[in-house]
């Protein structure tokens, strides 16, 4: 598992005009693990002590000059190196610090010099390795087999090249990235016999390429193709990613910023750590304010500029395996072959039939469902309907064990699963029940009627509707009680399930207010229909295992009217409805006042009987048998 810890703010950003630029051009490690050099994209360089959130020192260049590449720390000389106005003898792209060695200077046209040799002769001529139209997108120096290895990406004419250079033995190689398009963000890690390159593309995909390092030296002029494998395919919503950044943390984890969280709504930005082996989201932290698509990693901490501040987030990645609860599915995942929906279904059946202990099954089934749901969220094509239904049917799940299941079912418009969840889960929050209600009300009857729902509840509604059509003709005079069912058969079934969900009225009231007026009126009409049926005692003729109780119907009517009273009063189409309901209430009040009178009479009777009883002495006759 990976974890993100509490974020701290290192400094306030000097956000550029328009707010599209974070104002930071780079963050580099400094003299020790607790220090970083932050380079302002304008004119200043600041060294911070991270644990104290304190600036140790700051330098500013002269008015009119600009810092054009991030400052680095040169541990050899204990100096900070920065380039102003791009210039030495040619335009400089970056100064790159090399572990245990002299920093390297990478020119914009691809030439490389050691810093000390460049400083010894600043006016030395610099060759052009890249054509003029080529642009460097990314560069890095890694220690591979105890030798520094410089690599950078250049984009030219619709293709992206990776150039690698090593000093000992002197070698250079060029690779063409598959796909052509330049990645949004890159990150590299050394591995056995080469370098792993992670690229994030604007489609939301993360690819990995392994760049081999050959032992022999020599310059390979021809461009070699560099194959890639897909690691992650992240949902990006509509459109493409614009500003996002990925940093590989270790061989299994990658930190991403600017990619939407799979289960959070739009408009929220997260820093996420994904496991690339299992394609699972390991940790996420919401970043308040605008994200600039920038992310640095240094000494176990992530640096993210967002909003008006630069946050430092320590993280930890452990060697991960999917939760033990996944059972057999784990092997499927870690083997790299992802089980299809049918296989999952089979394994779930086997899993459920194997477990006998109820307590164990509850924990395990919850874990399994969560894994399946999160996989569904990651992989748009994957949706094991029958496996999920089976899990819900096992009665081992509850809403809190797997909170995203019901939402997922709603998203996928899997109304059959929704119905089972509503029936089985004892702890559905009012907000979710309400969103189900909204979805059911706004879905067209035609779509719903194609869904196969639980038979018993369908039969119940069928019975109700059949009764209403039979007797509709003869008893029209008895006003609101007889009406046609205002919704389709399956919609009625689903609404009945909503009626039977446990709720607390003050919470529900809040969420009911979000219903639109047509939805409210339709629902009220349906409730009125149900009430009419119930008060005719027709429902007792229709037997069903589960059916809404009269009190549940009345409570819902009250809540709906409470939540939308003003709207209903104003809406002309609700007038008839309201007047019918009013008649119903008046009828009830009448009945109750009659009952009150009866109660009074009975009490008087009882009192009369008692008063004869309280005397201190009496002589009675009893008979025993």
């Amino acid at each position: 598992m990976a974890a993100l810890y509490e974020a701290t703010t290192l400094c306030v950003l000097n956000v550029g005009p328009g707010g599209s630029d974070s104002g930071i051009s780079g963050i580099e490690p400094s003299a020790d693990d607790d220090q970083v050099v932050v380079t302002d994209s304008a004119r200043s360089v600041t060294v911070y002590k991270v644990s104290d959130k304190k600036a140790l020192g700051s330098w500013t260049v002269k008015q009119g000059q600009t810092v054009t590449c991030p400052a680095i720390y040169n541990p050899q000389t204990s100096e900070y190196v920065v380039v102003t106005d791009s210039k030495v003898s040619a335009d400089v792209w970056r100064v790159l610090s090399v572990p245990d060695s002299e920093p390297l200077v990478l020119f914009q046209r691809g030439a490389v010099r050691r810093l000390d040799t460049l400083l010894a002769d600043p006016q030395q001529p610099v060759e052009n390795v890249l054509p003029e139209e080529a642009v460097i997108r990314w560069s890095a120096v890694l220690n591979v087999e105890q030798q520094p290895c410089l690599m950078f990406l250049s984009e030219q004419k619709g293709e992206t090249l990776l150039l690698m250079q090593r000093r000992h033995p002197d070698s250079a190689a060029r690779y063409r990235l598959e796909g052509g398009e330049a990645p949004l963000s890159c990150s590299a890690l050394p591995c056995d016999g080469g370098v792993r390159l992670f690229c994030l593309y604007s489609s939301g995909s993360v690819y990995e390429s392994v760049v081999p390092i050959r032992g022999a030296g020599g310059v390979v002029e021809e461009v070699q193709p560099l194959p890639r494998t897909l690691l992650l395919n992240l949902p990006v919503g509509e459109g493409k990613l614009e500003s996002a950044s990925a940093v590989s943390l270790d061989d299994a984890h990658v930190a991403l910023v600017g990619v939407p969280h799979p289960s959070a709504g739009p408009g929220k930005d997260f820093l996420c750590i994904w496991n690339t082996n299992f394609q699972t989201l390991q940790a996420a932290k919401e970043m308040a304010g605008r994200i600039y698509g920038q992310l640095w990693c240094s000494c176990g901490k992530l640096y993210v500029p967002h909003g008006k501040s630069l946050s430092v987030i320590p993280f930890k990645c452990q060697k991960s395996s999917l939760a033990a609860a996944m059972g057999k599915l784990r092997q499927a995942g870690s083997n790299g072959t992802i089980a299809s929906a049918e296989e999952v279904q089979k394994k779930v059946s086997a899993f459920l039939s194997n477990l006998k202990n109820l307590h164990v099954i509850q924990v395990a089934a919850g874990g399994l469902a969560s894994v399946l749901v999160s996989r569904c969220q990651e992989q748009p094509g994957f949706y094991p309907h029958s496996a999920l239904v089976q899990l819900v049917h096992s009665q081992c799940l509850s809403y809190s064990v797997c909170p995203h299941l019901l939402t997922l079912a709603l998203e996928k418009k899997d109304y059959a699963l929704c119905q089972f969840c509503l029936q089985v889960f004892p702890d559905i929050p009012e907000a979710v029940a309400c969103s189900c209600l909204k979805a059911f009300l706004s879905e067209s009857d035609g779509t719903l009627d194609t869904v196969s729902l639980e038979r018993d509840s369908v039969a119940f509604v069928e019975g109700l509707i059949a009764n209403s059509t039979q007797e509709g003709g003869e008893t029209q005079s008895s006003m609101p009680l007889d009406m046609k069912c205002p919704v389709g058969l399956h919609k009625a079934v689903l609404l009945n399930e909503i009626l039977q969900v446990a709720y607390s009225d003050c919470f529900l009231l809040l969420h009911l207010k979000t219903l639109s007026a047509p939805q409210v009126i339709l629902f009220l009409q349906y409730l009125q229909f149900l009430y009419g049926k119930y008060s005719q005692d027709l429902h007792t003729q229709v037997s069903a295992l589960r059916s809404p109780a009269m009190t549940q119907i009345l409570d819902w009517i009250c809540l709906l009217v409470d939540a939308h009273f003003t709207v209903l009063v104003m809406a002309p189409e609700a007038r008839e409805l309201l007047s019918h309901l009013h008649k119903v209430v008046r009828l009830q009040v009448k009945v109750f006042s009659e009952l009150g009178k009866i109660e009074g009479c009975l009490q008087a009777l009882q009192k009369a009987k008692q008063s004869g009883d309280v005397c201190q002495y009496s002589i009675e006759v009893i008979e025993l048998f």
């Binding site: 002495y617 002589i619 025993l624």
Partner: protein, 683 residues
């Protein structure tokens, strides 16, 4: 079966007293309960909380605390005296002034060698317990502030004393206060009101206190710091009780609730434990003043006068009579004596006696009707007791001409003369000296003799119009010293049976004035007995509801008794929760035995078969609905009637009419003081 005329009497205004202290003796399994009238009752835990003994009360005696030391029972109260109760003679053994003002609390040390008394003057007084007395040893503390509650640590070296606004811990070696724990005052309006620490417990590593701010607090013994604070009630926490293994404790509050705390694992399977408030019982309407924990039950008592025995169901494995809630509200002895020939009732109140003549009717009517009363009942006598001691027993002779009562300080015998309207009463002088006081009194059926018991002996006094004359004393051969609980005389006056609190029944031949035989001892206490007028069979009912019939002449159990034991009594009969308190017989039908407890009376027809396990026990309504010819086939021996309740007395007069003395619960509750005010909806 037959019709009965019933005199339904409700003019006995019996009023129980509130419970003010309790002490449970784990070794003997006896519960001592002190009431506000100064009386002390002893209940046997092993015998379904049967009330074995009663030490009668006394005016001005208030008991604040009871304490068992081995088999000895000590009590102390606001009179400032520490007293030991003589449980054989049911009176005070001695009492000794502690000279510290009113005493609020006494405790004994775990070794049982010393008593500590918490006094009004702020001192804890230590007394050494000697064979027949206690001896003052020394004082601890004492500048000011009364000591309300005390608790002795199990090591015996420390005492915690609850005071006003604080708890002090005294070290017994030095005699000094070593810790002072300040108890904060209530947060509600009375910041200015002092906080009384009503109760403290000294567990092995914590001190627990209950105070008038409604809090139960746990303090660390070593550091004296507050560990945990539970707000239990808006009112006072009056009493605390802890289980022997110190894993569960109870707090009684002014609201009438009993709150349980348990020492539970914070995390399952780990060592760390915490006191967690677990259950709340509400069985009282008024303050719970005393609590006692007896392994599987929690016993509570308070101002509403009832003793509630609440089983802790987590400690019981199966359903039985012990697993149901038991409320003891009525005395388990008869306070009414009935002169069967004269139709008189004698009511025994703590400080006076009332003699009533029953009314009469000339009407007849079908079952269920109320007959017109042609002569109203009449109060003939209101006899105030001399002295401060309360009445412990009383009796009226069957002819209605003699009345006797006893207190712990003396017996009085009166001769009553009635002509048409006037009642005159004369005290009979010169009662024999040997009869200084009696636990039980009764007259012979021909009213020629008075039998009185002191401790285990029965004294016989002959009555003549001239006066009285001591005839003989009968003592059990076994030499048992247990006090006599019940007396029964045969109607021919030949036999007298006495049952003591140790369930031993001795039968004496009164013609020969010598012991006749003894009945085999049964494990449960004798709650009622009576001798059949024709067969001289002794019917004995025990606290566990078993019924025996013993033929006195043949000195063996009768066939009917053997049949009852063989077939077993019906489970409905065995599951009743109050014991039978009177046995009487129907003079017209020798097969009828009439028994009653607080909630029913029952006529047993010995000629009918016993109800078997499967048959319906309460079958009166069924029988009523059947045609007469079929009734016999369905009827069984037990004819239970629950028409009248709660019952204090059921007896049968010579003219075959029943007398039932009822005491409606409502009349008792309306006479209780008002409970603490609780906010109820819309008030």
């Amino acid at each position: 079966m037959g019709e009965f005329t019933v005199h339904r009497v409700r003019f006995f205004h019996y009023m129980p007293s509130g419970i003010c202290a309790m002490a449970f003796n784990r070794r003997t399994e006896r519960l001592a309960v002190a009431r506000t009238d100064g009386s002390v009752e002893l209940y046997s835990r092993t015998d379904h909380f049967f009330q074995e003994k009663v030490v009668p009360g006394r005016q001005q005696r208030s008991i604040q605390a009871l304490c068992w030391v081995g088999k000895r029972l000590f009590g102390a109260g606001l009179s400032g005296e520490i007293a030991e109760f003589d449980l054989d003679n049911l009176r005070l053994k001695f009492s000794q002034d502690a000279y510290g003002g009113p005493i609020w609390s006494i405790v004994c040390n775990p070794q049982g060698t010393h008593l500590a008394a918490g006094c009004e003057d702020g001192t804890v007084k230590l007394f050494e317990i000697l064979e027949d007395q206690i001896r003052f040893e020394r004082n601890m503390g004492g500048q000011k502030g009364r000591i309300i509650s005390l608790a002795w640590h199990s090591s015996g070296t420390k005492i915690a004393a609850g005071m006003i606004d604080m708890i002090k811990v005294f070290d017994l070696d030095s005699g000094n206060a070593v810790q002072r724990l300040l108890v904060e005052r209530g947060s509600r309006m009375q910041q200015s009101q002092e906080c009384v620490v009503w109760s403290v417990l000294f567990l092995s590593d914590i001190i627990v206190s209950g105070d008038s701010a409604g809090k139960v607090k746990m303090w660390d013994v070593n550091t004296g710091t507050l560990i945990k604070n539970h707000q239990v009630t808006e009112w006072d926490v009056l009493t605390l009780s802890v289980s022997q293994d110190e894993t569960s404790l109870f707090a009684g509050t002014s609201e009438g609730t009993v709150v349980q705390f348990q020492l539970l694992d914070v995390v399952l399977g780990q060592e760390e434990k915490e006191w967690v408030r677990t259950r709340t019982f509400k069985n009282h309407t008024h303050d719970v003043i005393a609590l006692a924990e007896a392994d599987t039950v929690i016993i509570s008592g308070g101002m509403d006068t009832q003793l509630v025995v609440r089983p802790l169901l987590d400690k019981l494995d199966f359903k039985s009579r012990d697993s149901s809630l038991l409320k003891i509200l009525f005395p388990q002895r008869s306070l009414v004596s009935c002169a069967k020939k004269a139709g008189l009732l004698l009511f025994q109140y703590p400080t006076h006696l009332e003699l009533w003549r029953l009314g009469d009717t000339e009407g007849h009517g079908p079952p269920g009707c109320i007959l017109p009363v042609s002569r109203n009942p009449e109060k003939l006598l209101h006899l105030k007791i001399k002295g401060e001691d309360h009445v412990c027993c009383s009796a009226v002779a069957p002819c209605g001409e003699w009345i006797a009562y006893s207190t712990t300080s003396g017996i009085r015998l009166y001769r009553l003369q009635r002509d048409n309207k006037n009642v005159s009463i004369t005290k009979v002088p010169k009662l024999p000296k040997v009869l200084r006081h009696a636990h039980q009194l009764c007259f012979s059926p021909d009213s020629s003799h008075l039998y009185g018991t002191t401790s285990s002996a029965v004294h016989v006094v002959a009555l003549t119009s001239a006066g009285c004359k001591f005839e003989h004393s009968l003592k059990p051969k076994s030499g048992s010293t247990h006090p006599v609980r019940l007396l029964a005389v045969s109607s021919d006056g030949k036999f007298l049976a006495s049952a003591n609190s140790n369930s031993e029944i001795h039968i004496y031949n009164m013609h020969k004035l010598k012991a006749h035989c003894t009945v085999p001892v049964y494990r449960s206490g004798v709650s009622a007995m009576g001798i059949h007028p024709e067969t001289n069979n002794l019917v004995i009912v025990h606290a566990d509801h078993q019924i025996f019939e013993f033929s006195i002449e043949q000195m063996q159990y009768t066939d009917w008794s053997r049949r009852v034991q063989k077939e077993g009594l019906h489970h409905v009969w065995l599951e009743r929760d109050t014991p039978v308190i009177n046995v009487t017989f129907n003079p017209q039908n020798p097969n009828h035995v009439i028994l009653h407890d607080s909630y029913m009376f029952c006529i047993i027809d010995q000629s009918l078969p016993l109800p078997d396990r499967k048959s319906q026990f309460h079958n009166q309504l069924t029988l009523k609905s059947l045609p007469e010819a079929e009734r016999l086939k369905h009827s069984h021996a037990f004819k239970e009637c629950k028409l009248y309740q709660p019952l204090l007395c059921v007896d049968m007069l010579e003219n075959q009419s029943l007398v039932v003395v009822e005491r409606p619960l409502l009349d008792i509750t309306t006479n209780l003081p008002a409970p603490v005010r609780q906010k109820k909806f819309a008030t």
